[in-house]
Amino acid sequence: MSEGIGARVTRKEDKRFITGHGRYTDDIVEQNQTYAAFVRSPHAHAEILSIDRDAAKAMPGVIDVLDGKQLTGDGIGNIICGWTVNSKDGTPMAMGAWSALATQYVRYVGDAVVIVVAETQDQAREAAEAVVIDYKELPAVVSAVEALQDGAPQLHPEAPNNQIFDWEIGDEAPTDEAIAGAAHVVEMDFTNNRLSPNPMEPRSAIATYNAIEEHYTLYTTSQNPHVARLILSAFYQVAPEHKLRVIAPDVGGGFGSKIYVYPEEIACLWASMKTNGSVKWTSDRTEAFLTDAHGRDHVSTAKIGFDKDYKIVGLKVDTIANLGAYMSLFSSATPTYLYATLLSGQYNIANIHANVCTVYTNTVPVDAYRGAGRPEASFLIERLIETSARQLGISPVELRRKNFVTEFPHQTPVIMAYDTGDFEAHLSDAMKAADWDGIAARKAEAESRGKLRGIGMSCYIEACGIAPSAAVGSLGAGVGLWESAEVRVNPVGTIEILTGSHSHGQGHETTFAQLVCDRFGLPIDNVQVIHGDTDKVQFGMGTYGSRSGAVGMSAIAKALDKVEAKAKKIAAHLMEADEGDIVIENGEVKVAGTDKVLGWHEVCLAAYMAHNLPEGMEPGLKEGAFYDPANFTFPSGTYICEVEVDPETGTTDIVQFTAVDDFGVIINPMIVEGQVHGGLAQGIGQAMLEHAIYDDNGQLLTASYMDYCMPRADNLPSFTIGHTTTACPSNPLGIKGCGEAGAIGSPPAIINAITDAIGNNNLSMPATPQKVWAAYNAASTKQAAE
């Protein structure tokens, strides 16, 4: 059985994960390990009047108790946002100061104030309770809309009215004009509910200081250890890069929340130097709810205009995005360049204008979470199209088809240039798989059982890879978004792949190895993938934005090209043949059209023996490459959801969910299906169950699984999954990316289905039974009155 591109190879890494032998940060124990606990603010907004550390210091096992004044006094820099976004009037974004340990003010419940280091975790936690902090409470604000109003509590002196920036994209005047002259106009309000990320493994960090070498080692739950090292070194002044090793070992899920450098990593590194040892911290689940960057939290209004033939003439969007108490690493890009640039959806829209206002509130910072801006965009456009069809009395399928982009490349008015796609292909495949045309009979049958059946679709498009570097640089990104790879061929012919991508559930150890198998015809066991250690891999940008296939594997492909070229040169020399006649397949190096053949391992050994190499050739077989993508990639798809609502209780069952995606070339269909399943589960979670809620005083009410409802197996149907393929033209492998699509495309399909079932379009996420019941009853009351 083939183990190359397109094969359903079972995951190499699952042997250790399934048998409980994964090695996560918290599994690691350094010599003389000490443990940290953080004293956090119980108030959403307060001034720190005094901190009394004496009683805590006297507790058993306590090594040190350190606060923010000491931290800033030692020159540890403030936490930064790595993407500059200016307001439309040109003023730069208003970034408030964020110290890893608060010095004067606390701005959300969970803001870290003091770090306690002790010999055991229990001792550290006990001593944390003995730290006495005197606060002067200040009024708090948790809603972004309220934070912008006159008289709202103010968070940062740098940001008057709590506004971070007021940004726009597209041309406003022509858009207004187009909508003013439209035959039909539909307007809608949207709330995109705030979510907690909930990776299975909570965040953890072990910082170790070696005083003799003046060297730090940080084990951390990171999606991008090199970027973490760069920031820790260049901005937070923890240590110069060559004196700081960052290792992200096995990481149990991230969904975006582990992209960022958090206060705890910085404080642990600094505390390891202060205590001259190794300091370990692992978040408990409540800390994770309080301090992991949340996702979404948009409030929007949108207006769409159609001409008399139902062609879209203009789209205008106004969004207020809650960024929480501080600007997290990519918080500025998520609600702007990753959101408003996708508002064109799969449609040909000549005029789009979007305004995005970002706001500080007394809540935990908000940043990228699976999909990062694209779920917000797809929810808005796909709910708006579906609602427009219902209001204008035409089929939602027909309305979509009338407006699909059909010619590529297609330049949208909001930066993105779609390179390829076939939207009709996945639409018709999905409709067939879901038996779209047979819904009337199923509705009637459900009605006979007293149930309300509804169907809804979503035609999403998203942008992956997050590149190219020069383009994102011109938009304000503080980093390039390329990827690196190194292919090390050993003398015996086995291969190590070093990649700057990071695997935290994606299965790179398998898919990246498949790429090598495909190239040389080697067994997959002969290939090892190494990642997540700044001492081993030179540099890399990490994993987010579904970029590891399209960008990370493209870098590997480039390095493989170089290895292949050198191996062919050596083989041609050894077999006295022409380099152009050499073919590598099935682990053999052959001269085409002859019986001359060498084993792959023989060529590799020759490279290292160097007894007989072409003149002037360096020994060895190891090549590296940096790959900077030429464009974003554009996965797209059609999702169809069918639900049954119990009108007595509002309980909604998803009876069928069909997802047909175009991810370009697929390396391992089994892993891709897994990604789609997981993404759909998270999308269903957002649409029906999940909501991070703060009360008016800024207390997080959903800080445990008793109050924050995660999707469970019985909330999910058996998914029907299909694929159509248009290869991505901008990378050598034709890959588009599949990691986030499920979470991006599913929420609008679900809400479109439920609103179809209950006959009321006014339904916000999460569509809990209570909300569905109320919306259904409001609709039936209204109908009865008419």
Binding site: P42, V109, E129, T286, F289, Q699, L701, M706
Partner: protein, 150 residues
């Protein structure tokens, strides 16, 4: 969160008013009260053990009596810190009306919590507050009964 209710206390309004101003009675009636010491007129320091859902903590804080209208009404308020459990603050507005030889006591309670109690026990605040309020007034009625019969 606002919770209210009323009780018929089997004592005259004057006796009830006296009891409401007697730290010993208050200490007896406040559920989980381990200590109540007067620090000034109408001001006390208190130590109270509270269990809200999964969180049990000892709160140290201040109890004050204010807005006094003899013998009709006052406000009993408290503010306590429970260490890592967070904080709680709130109070009860209490009104007394004569009802024959008994006294009708009406109360309104407001509670605000923060930190771990809010994170883990917010769903339980209303029911816990109701329970604590009823415990307070049931004990209060019992004490009134013994005072009157003594």
């Amino acid at each position: 969160m606002d919770i209210g209710g009323e009780y018929l206390v089997p004592a005259s309004r004057e006796i009830v008013w006296e009891m409401l101003n007697d730290p010993e009675v208050l200490a007896q009636c406040i559920p989980g009260c381990e200590e109540l010491e007067a620090t000034a007129e109408d001001e006390f320091t208190a130590k109270v053990v509270l269990k809200i859902g999964p969180v049990k903590a000892k709160f140290s804080g201040v109890v004050t009596l204010s807005d006094k209208v003899h013998p009709e009404s006052y406000r009993l308020s408290g503010e306590g810190k429970g260490g890592i459990a967070g904080f709680a603050k709130g109070g009860a507005n209490i009104r007394l009306e004569e009802s024959g030889s008994d006294t009708k006591l009406t109360y309104e309670v407001d509670v605000q919590v923060g930190g771990k109690i809010a994170q883990l026990g917010s769903r339980l605040i209303a029911s816990t507050s109701k329970k604590l309020a009823s415990k307070f007034f049931i004990t209060f009625c019992e004490v009134a009964q013994t005072r009157v019969s003594a």
